[in-house]
Amino acid sequence: MLEYIVRRLLFMIPLLLGITLITFMVIQLSPGGPADMLTGLSPKVGAEAKARLRHLYGLDKPIHIQYWLWLKRVVRFDFGESFKDGRRVITKILERLPATLLLNILSLLLIFFIALPIGIVSAVRQDSFFDKGMTLFVFLGFSVPTFWLALLLMLLFGVILGWLPISGMHSVNFLYFSLWGKLWDLIQHLILPMFISAFGGLAYLSRYSRASMLEVLRQDYIRTSRAKGLPEKKVIYRHALRNALIPIVTLLGLSLPGLIGGGFIFETIFAWPGMGRLGYQAIMSRDYPVIMGVGIIAAFLTLLGNLIADITYAFVDPRISYRQK
């Protein structure tokens, strides 16, 4: 089992290298060149000053040396300083990361606890009203632009009904709330973003769990369990579910990058102070160091999600981990 994890980790290394390579190449391509990227100087600066800077930052060295130097910095999470306010990029990211993670993890939980039962029941009661209704719902879910849904919900709950706040993570007078007050305030602010974040994933996962469950229900061992005299409920919840869950839980790990990606949109809409919003603002203001930093961190988190998915898979499927024997 440990062997398996180690192998997966080793497998990740070339991917990481590839990510850094691609990001490095993108930097090279940016208008104004790497000098501008690293220093944030406008092109109006004189040629001599630029030449000095190039030398200072080793930009006159051959490209693979540059890559190596840059790679060394990245490994230490040193992405330079933001153009906007000169603070270290990594600091800015770390400030925002908890908010993003909070939202994403809660969304994942929401997805799991709603989509999974929907999918399972759809499969068990195939072609029933429920199943067909859910299929319709899922189709709509795939087709709706999430940011539009966000707008509509903001309109409904925030403006028309006034029940929920529509921006930020805390209210203005947050600090004056009691502990419970703070918690409630947080929850209120979480509801809409969480729902929007989870929405796309809901549709996908319920479809996927339905498919997985259907696949399992067709298997011979389900027939065997019935032949033993097991009541249908137990057949489903003990035998079928256990097998159907295997691909589903791995999917959860793989859903993480999707959530992070979507975060750029809805974090912006809801003014949620997370990494996604930071990235978006950086893009709008062409704050390249921050953009790079967020990009790499995001890619890294994706890899992490994949790794978690793989490990979970090995955990729940005895056929995998025991293959080493």
Partner: protein, 278 residues
């Protein structure tokens, strides 16, 4: 063989429904100047932010432009982006997938590694990043969406190739001494077409969603050109005052993408090789 597909297609209600809607949209896009009641770019500040009325069926936006006309013209943008972006993705993806699946070995490993790396980046962010470095306009958007879409397709095509590669007629073609390129294009490709077609259709829907999201964020199609996404930007800004700006463009997106999804799913059933046994 295509006749069978056509017959089944006609019987499949999902696919038909989707196809009808898409055709309607395509026609709308083409004859837009003929059916739009107003010039979509014509501003009328005196009548800005007016709710739906007899004159302006869907209301006006923040610059007094007729919403209905803008939405009609927006159809052009969406369909264009959808087709071009997916077209690019298909060309690259199919080519790489064919090479990868057919030749195998180190080429395959290399391409798959590249695919894995590309898939590590959250797609949307990648697109945002690249657009940030370039200028946001419709052409860049199309190209970038296409360039981020090919990895998934490559994997798909490769998978199909792997299963078809071992079949006898491929071996026969090789034995006859046909060139690899010819085998790939003439013999291999038609057999992997089905899932590509399905993926392409679903992909158009996805591309439209992405483009509208980009335009919404201000990084896609720029005003004054009307894109459903960038109309929604105004919708957000004026959310408390003009609900129609938020509702209608989004509905347009929803219906369009839904149509593509229905068509895609319908095609999937129609082209499913397992059903060939009927």
């Amino acid at each position: 063989m295509w006749k069978i597909f056509w017959r089944r297609f006609k019987r499949n209600r999902l696919a038909l429904f989707g196809a009808v809607i898409i055709l309607t949209l395509a026609v709308t896009a083409i004859i837009a100047p003929l059916i739009a009641p107003f010039d979509p770019n014509q501003q009328d500040i005196l009548h800005r932010l007016e709710p739906p009325s007899a004159k302006h069926f869907l209301g006006t936006d923040d610059l007094g432009r007729d919403l209905l006309s803008r939405i009609i013209y927006g159809t052009r943008v969406s369909l264009l982006v959808g087709f071009v972006a997916v077209g690019i993705a298909i060309m690259i993806g199919t080519l790489l997938g064919l090479f990868s699946g057919y030749f195998g070995g180190r080429l395959d490993a290399l391409i798959m590694r590249l695919v894995d790396i590309m898939l590590c980046f959250p797609t949307f962010f990648l697109i945002l990043m690249v657009i940030a470095f370039l200028e946001p306009n419709i052409w860049n958007v199309m190209v970038v969406i296409g360039l981020t879409g090919w990895p998934g397709l490559t994997r798909l095509v490769r998978g199909e190739c792997l299963s078809v590669r071992e079949r006898e007629f491929i071996q026969a073609a090789k034995a006859l001494g046909l060139s690899n390129l010819r085998i790939m294009l003439v013999h291999l490709l038609p057999n992997v077409m089905a899932p590509i077609l399905v993926a392409a259709t679903l992909g158009i829907g996805g591309a439209i969603l992405t483009e509208s999201a980009l335009s919404f964020l201000g990084l896609g199609v720029q005003p004054p050109t009307a894109s459903w996404g960038n109309i929604l930007t105004a919708g957000k800004d004026y959310i408390t005052m003009a609900w129609w700006l938020s509702l209608y463009p989004g509905l347009a997106i929803l219906i369009t993408v839904l149509a593509y999804n229905l068509l895609g799913e319908g095609l999937r059933d129609v082209l499913d090789p397992r059903m060939m046994a009927e």
